[in-house]
Symmetry: D2
Subunit: 334 residues, 4 copies
């Protein structure tokens, strides 16, 4: 008999990817999927890629989730805290939303607004010592998609003193699924195909999270919407702290024991398509010959390592399973 | 100890997908991958999505494949026969190429040219009685990508006498990976994005294969290159043989025991993205209110059920494994 | 002093393309653009590609359009008739909607519903004798996008007796702009990229229009949504009426004097990207070697020759101008 | 009688766009188009979007171009100088290649290699005083695509002392046409669709040109290949030199008389699709609330303002015509 799991808010894109991963997971039994307006509908009617999955959406209520061992929350920001508070303390929770990521209440107020629900264990297993912390936790806040891509690229370099924590500049492009499934005119296929479009320039809500997770003290972050369904490519640059540093070696050492982080052979640069459908992050680093800046490029699937895959990875650890259980390190390409 | 498998011609797109599926297969041990110009290179250097796979391409020679239990041939048309002939008779072979699909030597000459290598067991398990035939075979010719999509849509209707075998009209659009990985100017991203382009109009080499597999006697087949990496959508129309027929019911009955074929709920039509990365085929059928024609729409991943996934499904049967072993029925979407 | 023109319902995709063409037109003075919810907004705020166009949307009211010489109606189906009726009889009108295309009231009722507003002059100048009819008209109903692509491919062959009018099968794929600008979840970029999706299978509202315009008596028409913003590729097949017919020669002769219709050199097949942004239609025809069917492929820009470009072409004729005025025969590619 | 113009190296993407613009130009008579391997072929066979253009490629030889008034060179880097030297001095030349852009021979050697051919008048009319210089020149080196996008965003801010010239960081993504038309496997549609891929990280040949044109002294430039045929989105960041600066106002003032540069209304950010097919550049600037960095985003069509459009703009000035002649300020969208 497996570990019973449920997904709250499973009608969106991250929720759909969670259902796909959980339906194929060898140790988790997917028993509950909840939705709001689509409660009562077959899951496959909302997620056609799951044709053959015999599950119907129930309403998003605590009672529906009380009997499972572990719950994934894939709700809009601001809705996780209330539901989590209503769940039995014995039910483990992984929140894909932002409600419990930030330790700084003021930062929460400034970027999200409303009352701060307090911080949970931060769900990025690749941070030093974090696997054990996550394994011991019953409440985990999964990392934001841009934060995953940027933190995996930058955190080891700041920690090792390879780069200076101030004057960090990040430009990150994301596929459109990162913008969610709500019908909005600027996200229509006619608008996004053939288009690159920056948004929330100079004020993205992932900035405080990235600073908290990486140790960066000054961060310029510009997100761009790219014409593809999935994928994040983050270009992270910072000034070197020491001469003759080898940022790639620092990253390779930091992730030697991380099965999902691949520091590519020197000269090979990450690209997003290679991570599609996987829980992998591809990294490469170099020093800019002209400016001397350290440049790190990171590629992930925003719904994989950036959301659902990472959440399952955390749930594996919380359940005493190998972190790779039910996840793929290989991408679906071309 | 698992079943040792190898892939010949693994540097292309179908080969890469085979490696992805086999690397995650619980019963097959992927021990050999061969390539031509890329022999000696790490697999991950040629297929970045397989970063972390510790395997190097060897040259495509019979000796390299003599020690495995089963070989997948993902070679250009016309090259499979020679290599297969040089393999020990005890080595099971699944050929993804066209060399051994056609029973009609004249049709081979007309559409492919050169000497006909003779027909092998046809690798479409969903055809009536074919699972047992494949399970007993040591040489299997996997079905062509367009033939999979069209045959699953049409064969049961012809067999049941629901539609007339003459005057069948098929228009099928494929993602660009179906055109292969060779660098050709008309396949550049700049050319194919935003573009729909018909090709081989009125004379595609899958015509005789489709007729052989479906029982269609007269077939108009027009392939179209579509601006996406993967996926085939086949629109198949034929004249009804009987009044008041329900083509959907015939398909649902024909595939009741086929785990990878999903006849969608009435009114829901297949679309390719829902099958990405899976071995599934989605089907729907209706009768055209104006013309009275039966219209069947079929969607597959051309590299999944259309190539590598189907080949693994056949290999599972040939190895006494459940046909779903190591394959996914769920697509990666959005 | 130029000819004053206005566009009613200019906030959608066809309306935006009309504004682009009219802003660059040497003889028409674009003086009014109306919208519904976006009245009062600068045109460039709704259509960023028109940055630099100094025009503000007014409300869609007859008074706003009473002072112009010619009005383009780019309104949702069912709204054109009322507005047109309220305009002074001296104001020429080109309706891009369907309200006045069909001569058969019963067909209107069946496919659109509601009262039939009556037929206007059909706005396809390439039909025999139609240029003169359009030039003399004050009310013109522009052709539907799928109807343009299909009619230009088929009408001359039916008229010449080259093909039989019954048993016509058309599969046509369109870019997403054909589905309009209203925010709907199934049209999100995340859904349409990488996807081919059939819709309205066996019952599309363009069927009666295509039959009326081509002379086809039995028509099977299947539309498919393709992952690109613009373009229609129509594959039209019919049974030949005579042996040894040369459908390409019939088309070449029919369009010898049509500057926007290009019958490509034998062997070259149309593809949509080559028509982007132009008012051109590319055609090619052949006889299927297996089935003997005549296959004609047609490519247009659904917003160009399929909507706004064609409407301007009609307006040119109605205004005594050369039909090519302000329109391009060349596409924007790659 | 118009001004006779020719295009050398017209079989590539920039060349094709030049032919499109020149074929519709009211003052230039396109009389010669040369190509290498495709000499002797009809232009429309190589550029299907130009169906209807009655022109055949001639070989790329000086004699073929000796009789025109102005020649556009769209040749690979390193080939322009030799051809230009062989043309009569009375023939005006606009070079789209890099051969004559750099004033610093050492920089040429480092980034391009080979002998430096010497600098010509730099073809960016929007730089202060440059219109008159171009109008008086007979040899003009058109600006590189990335350099156009970056220079228009940055140069006025450096010149005004709004930002510091050191520590400039640019991440710019380009559509695939910027990579050219040569058949290379990594540019196949199957590879680029759904993919973002950085390249030449830390050492792009446009770095010295951008520094020369903008006055930046230290520049980190990372180019990214994006899944679309056309468009460049450049995100340019620099440290402010003064407190409380308004970078948008500086840009608006700098381009008040530049018809192709549109500083968007505050809060509206450029996106590439809005510039497709036009010669426009869309700009917006803001100060990052967290880092205090100035962020400028620039969008162009890499084949328009980034190549062919800009070259025609220069040729207009060199021929005493309004710079907007035969060019569009409006994009083709969606």
């Amino acid at each position: 008999m497996g570990i019973k799991v449920g997904v709250a808010g499973a009608s969106g894109y991250a929720g759909g990817e969670l259902l796909r991963l959980l339906a194929g997971h060898p140790e988790f039994d997917l028993t509950v999927a909840t939705a709001h307006s689509q409660a009562g509908q077959p899951v496959a009617a909302v997620h056609p890629q799951l044709a053959g999955l015999d599950l119907v959406f129930t309403a998003t209520e605590p009672d529906a989730l009380a009997d499972v061992d572990l719950v994934f929350l894939a709700l809009p920001h601001g809705q996780s805290a209330a539901l989590a508070a209503a769940l039995p303390s014995g039910v483990k929770v992984v929140d894909l939303g932002a409600d419990h990521r930030l330790t700084d209440a003021a930062a929460w107020q400034r970027y999200y607004g409303g009352a701060h629900a307090g911080a949970w264990t931060y769900g990025l297993p690749e941070l030093p010592g974090q696997r054990a912390v996550i394994a011991a936790a019953t409440r985990v806040a999964a990392t934001g998609c841009y934060a995953v891509a940027t933190t995996l690229a930058l955190a080891p370099l700041v920690a090792a003193g390879t780069v200076a924590p101030d004057d960090v500049v990040v430009v990150a492009a994301s596929g459109t699924s990162g913008a969610g499934r709500a019908a909005r005119a600027h996200l229509l296929g006619s608008e996004v195909m053939g288009d690159l479009s920056p948004y929330k320039v100079g004020a993205h809500q992932h900035v405080p999270e990235i600073k908290q997770a990486t140790g960066a003290t000054t961060l310029s972050f510009t997100p761009v919407l790219a014409p593809m369904p999935r994928g994040i490519l983050a270009t992270v640059t910072a000034l070197p702290s020491v001469v003759g540093t080898d940022p790639r070696a620092v990253l390779a050492s930091a992730y030697a024991d991380s099965p999902f982080v691949h520091v590519l052979p020197a000269g090979a640069w990450p690209h997003t398509a290679a991570t599609l459908g996987s829980n992998s992050c591809h990294l490469q680093a170099a020093v800019d010959v002209d400016s001397g800046r350290v440049i790190v490029v990171s590629a992930i699937d925003n719904l994989g390592k950036g959301a659902a895959g990472q959440a399952v990875q955390c749930a594996n650890l919380m359940s005493g399973l190998p972190e790779t259980t039910g996840l793929s390190v290989f991408g679906v390409a071309p």
